[in-house]
């Protein structure tokens, strides 16, 4: 397997504002290019906290503390940059255009379906209508939503069903062609059919974009991911290929969690 790292997390610790103890302790984790990496573990283990560090969305709330490094590969130069060192607003903006995020609750913007998808593109400065039309269609097709909405692109996005809204959010995120897509429990608010649709999407998308997915549903992790990281109480307990983690866990703790003994 030709494995290339697109992100590398090194000795990373994270403390929330006002907290005495860190929520993440000394995490070392590679994220491989065009693969799906799943973060699993019981509630409160820090998997969402880790995910949200990868696009520095914690910075919306002042006072948090980072330690260590999170490296992101610049695909043109091939160099790894520590994203924790970004201080300026436009550096962070560029980061988020390269590392997108899908949330647990579908978050359609209060505008039309078309404008939702075009929003990120317009932020990047694209104005040409033909170009936008093309990219919107491409993104919606990539999110398996195009056929359902192609006749009502001007409708308010909030009128879509839950599953459609989440696919809209995915389309919106991939429209800007990010290198990494972060997904924070993307199906836990959805019905089983929509969940399945999204899981299929994830498998399809990884040809284009690296995906890191947080899930509390182990079966989901085993279905969609190539690599799995098992976390517990802020620490990374075990990391490996999904096959290895689920069929042959090295640590007893991992084995217990997989077997459903707790969490």
């Amino acid at each position: 397997m030709n494995l290339e790292k697109v992100m590398d997390i090194k000795n990373f610790s994270f403390t929330y504002a006002g907290a005495e103890k860190p929520s993440l302790k000394n995490i070392n984790l590679p994220i491989y290019y065009k693969k799906v990496t799943a973060l699993i573990g019981p509630s409160g283990c820090g998997k969402s906290t880790l995910l949200r560090s990868l696009n520095r969305i914690h910075d919306l709330y002042p006072g948090n503390k980072y330690e260590g490094e999170i490296l992101l590969k610049d695909l043109e130069t091939g160099k790894m940059e520590n994203i924790l060192e970004y201080k300026k607003e436009n550096e962070l903006i560029k980061l988020r255009q390269r590392v997108g995020m899908i949330f647990q609750k579908p978050t359609p913007f209060p505008m039309s379906i078309y404008d939702n998808i075009a929003y990120g593109l317009r932020l990047m400065g694209k104005k040409n209508k033909a170009e936008l039309d093309e990219k919107v269609e491409e993104a919606l097709k990539g999110a398996a939503l195009w056929n359902e909405v192609k006749d009502r692109l001007k409708d308010d996005a909030r009128g879509l069903s839950g599953g459609q809204q989440q696919r809209l959010c995915i389309a919106r995120a991939i429209a800007v062609e990010p290198e990494v897509l972060l997904m924070d429990e993307p199906t836990s608010a959805l019905d089983p059919i929509s969940t399945l649709a999204i899981e299929e999407l994830v498998t399809k998308l990884k040809d284009k974009v690296t995906i890191v997915i947080v899930t509390h549903n182990m079966q989901q992790a085993s279905r969609v991911s190539d690599f799995t990281a098992y976390m517990y109480l802020g620490e990374l307990v075990e990391f490996g290929t999904t096959e290895q983690i689920f069929l042959n866990p090295q640590k007893k703790h991992t084995a217990d969690y997989i077997a459903g003994k707790f969490g």
Partner: protein
């Protein structure tokens, strides 16, 4: 025994509610009867100098409108600060509470304040002073509305905006405010209804004028101030005009309030 006390209390409470309704209907009915009987085409096509209400109606709206233009931007941006930029720090809490205090400040005191800073230096009453007094009253209401409505928007929506690479101010304007649009508009509408019915802040800032004028540099016609002066006149025909004005004012205010509630209810569906 306990049951008797219970029944008595419940009875008294119901009586209290009935009493409240009695007052409401008494007021509205007398207002409507006196008001409608004094309404005719004449009062809409003539100004106060000819025993009409035209200049007063226009004037009151102009003043309230200018107050909106001044007060809403200041209030909204302050509300945005409280909700989006302050993260619950002490200063923001302080301002929030201060704004609420200001909301209940005596309106006549605000009139004296504006008199001191505008009317006194200028030398005479003027419409700008009245509009500014109304604006000062409007600001805390707008702050409260904006603050509350923005607070209802779920934080995931903001995070999603940031996650796609939007700078914070764009997230606020393109996404958050849009999401809260209905609530904010209703709040502003209700605030407008509140200040359009104010009298005290106008009494010695913009005063009143009998003529139709749009010149804000001098005394400016005001429906509410006129009602106050007319109602105590010995001439009955003038008092009737006051009733007509009072009726129109109340009608307007109540319609807006009902409209606001209706809109909110529609939104909730």
């Amino acid at each position: 025994m306990r049951l008797i006390i219970n029944k008595i209390v419940l009875l008294l409470s119901t009586l209290a509610a009935i009493l409240g309704l009695v007052f409401l209907f008494w007021i509205l009915i007398t207002l409507t009867i006196k008001g409608i009987s004094a309404i005719n085409l004449h009062i809409f096509t003539n100004d106060l100098v000819n025993n009409g209400l035209r200049n007063l109606l226009v004037g009151q709206f102009v003043l309230a409108f200018i107050a909106v233009i001044i007060g809403v931007p200041i209030g909204m941006v302050a509300g945005i600060y409280l909700q989006e930029y302050s993260f619950g720090n002490k200063y923001a809490e302080f301002i929030r509470n201060l704004s609420d205090v200001m909301m209940s400040a005596p309106s006549i005191v605000i009139g004296t304040f504006v008199y001191a800073i505008i009317v006194s230096p200028v030398g005479h009453m003027n419409g700008w002073a009245g509009a500014i007094a109304l604006a000062i009253m409007m600001i805390p209401i707008v702050v409260r509305t904006t603050d509350d409505m923005l607070g209802l928007v779920p934080k995931e929506l903001r995070e999603a905006g940031v996650a796609i690479g939007a700078p914070k101010y764009k997230v606020i304007f393109d996404i958050v405010i849009k999401a809260a649009k209905v609530g904010i508009m209703t709040g502003l509408l209700l605030a407008f209804a509140r200040i359009v019915g104010e009298t005290a802040p106008l009494l010695f800032t913009s005063g009143n004028s009998e003529y139709f004028t749009l010149n804000l540099n001098h005394e400016f016609p005001s429906l509410t101030v006129a009602i106050y002066t007319l109602a105590t006149m010995p001439d009955k025909s003038l008092v009737d005009i006051a009733w007509a004005g009072a009726f129109l004012l109340t009608l307007f205010v109540l319609i807006i309030n009902l409209l606001g509630r209706f809109v909110i209810k529609e939104k909730k569906k």
